[in-house]
Symmetry: C2
Subunit: 208 residues, 2 copies
Amino acid sequence: MLGGMAWDTERTKRLLLDAAVDEFAAHGPEGARIDRIATAAGVNKERIYPYFGGKQQLFAAVVQRELEQLAAAVPLEEPDGGTVDLPEYAGRVFDYHLAHPHLLRLLQWEALCGDGSAPVAGEGRRAAHYAEKVAAVSRARRGSGGAGDAARGEVQLPPADLLYAVIALAGWQFAAPQLARMIIGGAVDADPAARRAAVVDMVRRLAL
Amino acid sequence: MLGGMAWDTERTKRLLLDAAVDEFAAHGPEGARIDRIATAAGVNKERIYPYFGGKQQLFAAVVQRELEQLAAAVPLEEPDGGTVDLPEYAGRVFDYHLAHPHLLRLLQWEALCGDGSAPVAGEGRRAAHYAEKVAAVSRARRGSGGAGDAARGEVQLPPADLLYAVIALAGWQFAAPQLARMIIGGAVDADPAARRAAVVDMVRRLAL
DNA sequence: GGGCATTCCAACCCGCCGGTTGGTGGCTTC
DNA sequence: GAAGCCACCAACCGGCGGGTTGGAATGCCC
């Protein structure tokens, strides 16, 4: 039609996926409406079925693509040459969630709708990804362990717990904004920089 | 009929609420089915409308009741005279989530289904409740602030941030079990005591 | 016994929504 | 031009599910 360029099936699929990300993130696999996705994409809804098979498969495709984009946007190795600043990393995780609120919502829908104990799609790859991050944290901390803290009788937190804390502290206020709003007083949207600074500060204290 | 005791409207309402908790926690306000709730309660579904008004109101009633139960079961102030042990409080929050997985799921559904910025049902009371907790934390810390930490140039974390951290650290592994499983290696179910200890330890470090 | 409220049962209405189908026209390839 | 795929449009189907209604049984109060 007005877009003119027919014959580009990849573009059609991409338009559908783009619209589906918004719709699924907003309403979840149950509440999402096929018609809304098609309308938002500027594509007829029937196109979904030859390309993806149905609503559930479209949701799976959306989650998969978002995870791939995450893996591409957040590389394992630090680009600046190997030094790992964990509090700053927490800040970047916060930034990512702030800029891409879809991902966490999709993961929450996945957690809520799926069986809690059953492995999710692509769990193997994703677990390996996190194991790599834990290893990176462990590597980075081995050198930076201050003797002063050791003198205080403190034992460092296990790297996995630390990574868990980073993700929880950075992510919780996006996952449960109504709680964060009621506790903090202002929403995340009110002053993102302050929230980011708080997360960075908390991780800094934990990483001692 | 078989229950015999008709005429006990409170009992009927309670039966409906009990069944609704399970149904809503499992499927959310959209995916929940009125018929399933009524059947599980052993009550006819029409009873819902005179008592609660509809599906959404029933969901709100369920959330409210569960929150009241949490507040009653996990007080912040020690009953033995007002001392506040924040790490231990985090541990008790963890215990509560472990024993009552419904609550956090309900809050997640609420967060996902509701408009992110619009106030949720009963937000005023709930916000006041959290403000009270923040005040208690603030009161408790004023005395315990170690001079040693001040000598190190450390400023204490704001009480609200601290309470936020407690709730986030204790709750995240129940809210996103698949992430926790992939990061930590074992699920929460595998070794709850270890996870609890980790949460308590992290809060202890933050509360310094 | 006569009102009145509560509950059960059993349909029923109606809108929504996932998915399908048939027809038309355009673009590409041969 | 003929064949074939791609996309649009429009209508349609069928089931599901929230919510409603009417009728009958039962217990409470006067």
